[in-house]
Structure formats: C-alpha cells, structure tokens
Amino acid sequence: MTLKEKARILDKSSMDKTLERIAHEIIEHFKSIDDIAIIGIKTRGAYLAERLAVKLEHLAGKRPLVGALDITLYRDDLTQASEQPVVHATEIGFAIDGKRVVLVDDVLFTGRTIRCALDALIDFGRPAQIQLAVLVDRGHRELPIRADYVGKNVPTSLKETVEVRIEESDGKDEVVVCDKEAQGMITR
Amino acid sequence: MKHLIRNGRVVDPANKIDEISDILISGGRIEAVGKALDEKAGKTIDAKGMIVAPGFVDMHVHLREPGREDKETVRTGTRSAIRGGFTTVACMPNTEPALDNPDIIKALKEIIKKDALCKVAIVGAITIGRDGKALVDIEALKREGVVALSDDGYGLQDGDLMLAALKGCKKSLLLLMDHCEDKALAGKGVMNKGFVSTKMGLRGIPREAEFTFVERDIELAKKAQCPIHIAHVSCKESVEIIRKAKKAGIPVTAETAPHYFALTDECCATYDTNTKMNPPLRTAADVEAIKEGLADGTIDAIATDHAPHTDSEKDVEFDFAPFGIIGLETALGLSVTELVDKKILSWSALISKLSTNPAKILGIEAGNLSKGSVADIVIIEADKKYTYTGDSIVSRSKNSPFIGWQLKGRAVSVFVEGRPVMLDEEYGRV
C-alpha cells in the first residue's frame, strides 16, 4: 500500500509547541503533579508520553509517573487482521489504583484503540480517573469516545490517512495527511 | 481377425532388433515381422512415432485376491497392469488364505480364467501359511502350474529351511524368489535407518537387514546349486554382492522396483505414508548404485512390487500404515523419465528389464517378438510429457507417491495373445 502525501499539518517546531500547550493544559486542569500517571499507547503514543512527562517535569518541578501500554492483546479486530500483530510488553512499573491517568496517543480516529486501552488499564487496577490526550483528532468516531486534550483537529475524509512521524521511531517529527491507494483498510 | 501394426519402432532385444518395422498378428501369434508388409494383410494400427515392444512382464505383483478384494482384485489388478503395458504379471502368494496348497491354486486359476484381462502367472508360497516353519508340498504346487515360490512379505529366517527350500526348488525346477530381510535386524523399523529417520524420530530398518540375507541366501543357493532370484533390491551393498556372485558364476538373478531409482528416504520427511514400503527407500548413493546395477546388467529386471492398500489403512500415523505402494501404472513412465531420458539405459536395455529378462527368469513364453511367438505386444508413446493424476488411476487402490509427477512414456495399446485389449484414443479404450 503506497501513500501519497497531500499536506503537512505539523512540522518539528509546531509539534513541539503543540505538546508544550497540552502540558500546560494538563497542569492547569490538575493543579498538581501528584498521583498523575502519563501512560502512552505503544508505540508512538509512548514516545509522546515521554516527551510530555519531560515538559511536565519542567513545569511542575517534579516528574509524573510514566508508563507505556501495549494494547495488541486487547484488539477486537483479530478476525480482520491483515498484518502481523506484534505484541510488545506493557511497561507500567507502578500500581495504578487511585491514580489520575492521562492516556496519550498520536491519532484519535474511530476510538476503538482507546476502548482497548481502557479495557487494558482496568485489568491493571482501578484508577481514580482516566483522561485522554491526543496529538491529532481526525474525526470519524465509531464509539462514544472523546479526547480531553487535543493537539490539533484535522478534519479528514475516509479516503485519507493521517501519518504521525516521530523522531525516535521514524527519524523525523512531522504530521502529514495522505491519500490511501488501498481500499478497505482499517487503521484505527 | 489379423492385425497389422505399421511403422512403429520395433524394439525386440531377444532378436537384437531396434528399427522401424511392421508386425502382422494372426491367430494369437506373430505371423511376420518386417519392413513394408502388405497393407491389406490385416486391420491396420498406425504406430508411427511409437515404440512397439514385447508386452511387459511384471515378476512381482500383489493382486490381493482371494481375501482382500477391498484393496484389489484379479480384474482390477490386471486392468491396472494392461494400463501400464504389462501383458503378464506374476502374482504373489500373500493372499488370505496364502497360496500354499493345490486347492487354493486351483480356485485362483478359475478366478483368473474368468476375470483376468492379462496373463497371470502364479507364485506359490515357500512355507505353509507363510509362517516360515514348514515347507509346502513343492512338487504338488508345481503340478498345479505355479512358476515360482516365494514367501514375499517376510524373509525366510531359518537358514536351514531356506536350504531345504532351495533343494526342493531345484528338484522341481521352480524358481525361488527371495524376499531378503533379517527380521531381528529390521525390528520395528518403518523406514531406512539413517539421518532422515533420526531427524524424523522414526525407528529405522538398517541396510544390513537386507544385504546380510542377500549374502546368506546366495551362499545357500550356491550350496544347493539352485538358481535364486533376489526380489526388490534396494541398497548398494546388495547390488555389489549380486555383482560379485554373478562374476563368480553363481546362478542369481535380481529385480528392483521403480521407486528404488526414483525416490530417496528424504521423501518421507512429510510423513506421507505413500513413501513407506519394505524394503524402504534409501539414500541418493543407493539410487546411484541401483541405476549402475541396471546399466551393467547386475539387476536383470524391473518389477513393480505393486502393493495396493486402501485409503483408510494408509491414512494413519506413519508407524501404523502398512508397507507398500501401487506401481503397475507408473513403471513405464518412471523408467523412461529416470532411466532412458537420463541415458542410463537404452530403449533396448529397458525392454530387456521390463519384458525379455523377466520372461526368461520365470521361464514363461513371453518377452520377445519372434515369428511364431505369442502376440503379447505393447505400443508405447515415448516422447509426450503427461501428468500422472489420481483420477487416472485404474487400480482399486490409490496409494502412490507419484501422483502429480510429470512423466514421459505411456502404453497406448496392448495386445494379449493377439487380441487388442487396450487401444488408444482413436480406436477406443478398455
């Protein structure tokens, strides 16, 4: 499947500013960093969570708890998988009972990934609260899920896809909208 | 009615003929062989581009009747033989009950008279019930017309008894066809003992189980001064022992089956029970030795050891499946593809292995196209490639590892005693 880039929504500098703003919003909402856990959804969400944690530490003087969640085993689309599911280990080195969790993901689309993440988190324990921060919200929700913190709203058509590239995994920071050549593909 | 086979390449090693020629058949016999015979002499069969040879003789076939008609009958087995170009088969005595007494032989002869599409020579058992303990009444079986004796399926373990059997065969002028297998060495093995059996975790049959008995029985035959025929030779040591024995003037003849020059034990790796037979498939070095043995005359005959088994018997764990595969319908194709095309044997040499020599060894009237001989003839399409499919199998059983193979060499017409039992597409099929 090949992708044709149509527009670049965020570049390295605007991506950084967006994350900075989200960090501010989180602090503004929670007032303190105590009992905050930033948990990113693997793989890109986890990298973004780490960046957020660094920014939050800067702002609050203390680093929040950070974890990474692999939701492959909670996906409900086993029957529709066309690519190899790769199960990475979940890394949450603390008890989440009573914590105020901010889930972090790169793109919010149908909402199914977030639903899986909620299932996974609840198997880990009973957080006091779960909020959601995403870099991009591209619309087309199939479930009643919404993000509390949104980097950028990007209205898209179903024939398009939003590609988030992160330096840690893709070599550069940017967000682009592309045209899909293949039909019938389920991304999120 | 007379038949005239025209313009075929007549290959008749018995008369040292290999040339384009015509054959006139009359009254069940060959009336004339020569160039440009009179066109109006008989009904013409155009054999242009084909090979015309004496009908093949398979020394080693299991027809399964009486007793296991679910696997094969005289009728279905001989139909399979005709398809393969065989006009005579020698049927083995491991039926139920075994062919170890005159009455059962009589009964079988009746069945053959009624049902057989080709000629059937009967091989009697060596021991009663094939249990390796007591000899049959050899002279009585000879009187009923058996052409040879064999305990095929088992090796005769008792050397003393083997010696006695050889002496009896010598007196009655019967051929002894020897299944050489030391049961103690073979044990519960199910395939060749070697690297492949180690990988597969299966009990192996060591090659010693075969060649030590080949050696033993040739020595006994020498002692008894009786000719001996070694069945289904599979390993290089056996070939070498037979070669030496022949050089020393001992009257030993030998046969091998097509699977021993077409397959190795590597084929067993998928646990396909159609690769399970006894003796087992061996290594590449053994395949080379078998081919050499065929080329230099150490191995006189190609005999299929056609062993039909039902699907339900074969579709089980490798350890439980019975030994054996069918072979009548693939013998020619495998021989042409693996031997003639690869320049191991000439056509003349191949016809010797399939027809001339087996007839001579069994002492039957067949295997040549001499004037006056019985007209057992096969017409062969030699150079068109075809795929051996499961649907094409005429035998009642389908246990063959060659399904799907691309082969060359197919019998298209067969005459038995001058009657066209099978004619190719243009004239209708049997």
Binding site: L73, A81, G125 | F195, D315, E317
Partner: protein
C-alpha cells in the same frame, strides 16, 4: 519489527520447519506475554471466543496444565481430551478424531502423541491449528522454545553459547527440538550420551557428539539434562540406574568443575539421583522452576500467533 507477516503458519509442528526469524519472533512475543503473567489479573482477551482442545494420546499432567493455563490466560475456552492409548488401537483413526474435533469448530488442537509425525498428518487434514505438544521421538517445540527463552533471560543471547544436551538423545524429542532451535540461533551444541543412545547421523544437524560427561561439561555455558526413561527405550543401554548416575549424573562435584554461572536445565519431571542429584536440582545454578514459569508465557505466545495466522489466512 517489520509490518510483513513474520508468522504466517497456522500450525507449530516443530522447530525444524522454522526460520531463525520465526523463532526469534516467538521468543520476542513470549517476553511480552511474560509481563502478563506478572500482573494481578493474569488474563487478556486476545483469544476470547476461541476454543482450544488438548488432545493427549500420552498421559501428561504438566505439559497439559501448562497449555491449559496458557489458553485460559488468553481467555480461550479449553477442553481436555485424554485418548486411551493401547498397543492395538481400537476405535477412531487419528484423522477421524481430527475431523470430529474440527466439526465442533475447535480453533486450536494441542496434540501430544506417542508416534512421530502424528501432528504433521493431522495438520494437513484439518483446518484447525495444530500445536505439537510432543510427538514420539520427533519434536517438542514448545519445550525447546521455553528452554531457549530461559537461556536468553539468564545469559542475554543464544548466539555463540556453548550448550550441552545430556541424556538419551536417540529417543528424545526435547533433544531434537533443542538442537534445531539452538543451532538456528547460533549456539554451539554438544550432545552427550552413552554410544548406543547417540542416533545415526546426528552430527549432520550441526552438533558435536561425545560419550564423556566431563567433555560435555567442560566450558559449557548451559546444560540441558534429559529425563532417562527406563520404563521405555532407554533401558536398552542402561539396565542399572545407579550405573547411569555414576557415569552421567550431574552431581555437585561434576558441577564444581564447570563455569561458575553455568545454567542447569531439565524438562522435568526429574528423576532425583539418576540424572542429577537433589543438590544440583535445588541448587543455585538450576533454572528448572523458571523453565516451568516461562513455559506459560511461551505457550501463550504460540497459541496467540497460530490463532492469528489461521484467521489471517481466511
């Protein structure tokens, strides 16, 4: 990890048939599953709604339990079928049993059988996935995988490791699977057994052979000590258990001459005082209990991967 299908096989029949990449992928997946087994709620919904049958023609409590737990932790439904094995097999043929199971819409058949090749035959006759839990002398792939997983945990990598497998190699499916897996991942394998229990041609699998226990232990990073089955085929070489222990038993004295951190493995159950002394079995070098724990993670990975491959193939 690339997006292409690394694991596309609906069955796991043996390590002979796997590439290095496929084996490493299973081990990687297993490490993720190990994390699941450390949680409070040791369950994920990955195989919810799927059914796994343990079809055991040979009795086995531990392997069966391990597979059962693995399936249940993936939220699958599990059924245990113990088939009465007798020398004269009465009743259903293997393929008929398989077809009946398939008719029940079973997704995965975990099969242990006393005849080599049985899973291979079953796998090509049913659409369900077939996982080999041990067939005759042929292979026991999940055992070798958990052995390698444990080795990787302890020693970091398999590449270049010196591993000795000790015991009745000729009749051991654990040995064969380990040889395939370890050599494919770059280990240097030695097999050690009395001469009549070293099978023909085994060097062609890329291993060194010896009948001298000291030679096998010298410089080894890890040893895998096999179970001697005196009630079966091993008896041909060693009528006396005491004699076996004397010549091949892993004792503290023998271990003292080895590398200090040598890893001692055993597929279990141990014959104390025959393959190894209690001291060694319970000692600091032994990872036998960790092997058992890792077995669950490895089997979860295998069940997950074959289930997914079967779905993807539809």
């Amino acid at each position: 990890m690339s997006q292409k299908m690394v694991w596309a096989k609906k069955d796991l029949l043996g390590l002979e048939y796997l590439s290095r990449e496929e084996i490493e992928f299973i081990l990687y997946t297993a490490s993720s599953f190990k994390e699941v087994t450390t949680r409070q709620i040791k369950k994920v919904p990955a195989l919810r709604g799927k059914t796994v049958v343990n079809l055991f023609y040979e009795p086995s409590t531990r392997t069966r339990m391990s597979f059962e737990l693995a399936a249940k932790r993936l939220s699958a439904d599990v059924i245990n079928m113990a088939v009465e094995a007798s020398s004269v097999r009465k009743g259903e043929t293997l393929i008929d049993t398989g077809r009946n199971i398939e008719a029940l819409k079973i997704d995965i058949i975990v099969m242990r059988h006393d005849h080599s090749g049985a899973p291979n035959i079953l796998a090509r006759n049913v659409r369900s996935s077939v996982v080999n839990a041990g067939d005759g002398w042929h292979e026991h792939p999940t055992q070798a995988l958990l052995d390698m997983f444990t080795l990787k945990e302890k020693l970091g990598t398999i590449e270049g490791l010196k591993v000795s497998i000790i015991g009745d190699i000729a009749h051991s499916r654990v040995a064969r699977s380990n040889i395939w897996g370890l050599t494919k991942l770059g280990a240097k394998v030695t097999v050690c057994a009395p001469p009549m229990l070293i099978p023909e041609g085994i060097e062609k699998m890329g291993v060194r052979t010896t009948s001298d226990i000291a030679e096998a232990l010298d410089g080894a990073d890890a040893i895998n000590v096999l179970r001697m089955q005196f009630e079966r085929d091993s008896a041909v070489a060693f009528p006396s258990r005491m004699e076996y222990f004397k010549q091949y038993g892993i004792t503290a004295e023998r271990l003292a001459k080895c590398k200090k951190d040598i890893v001692v493995m055993h597929p279990g159950p141990i014959n104390r005082g025959i393959e190894m002394s209690s001291e060694v079995a319970d000692g600091g070098n032994s990872v036998i209990l960790e092997q058992v724990t890792n077995g669950i993670a490895v089997r979860m990975a295998v069940l997950y991967l074959v289930a997914h491959a079967k779905e993807a193939a539809k």
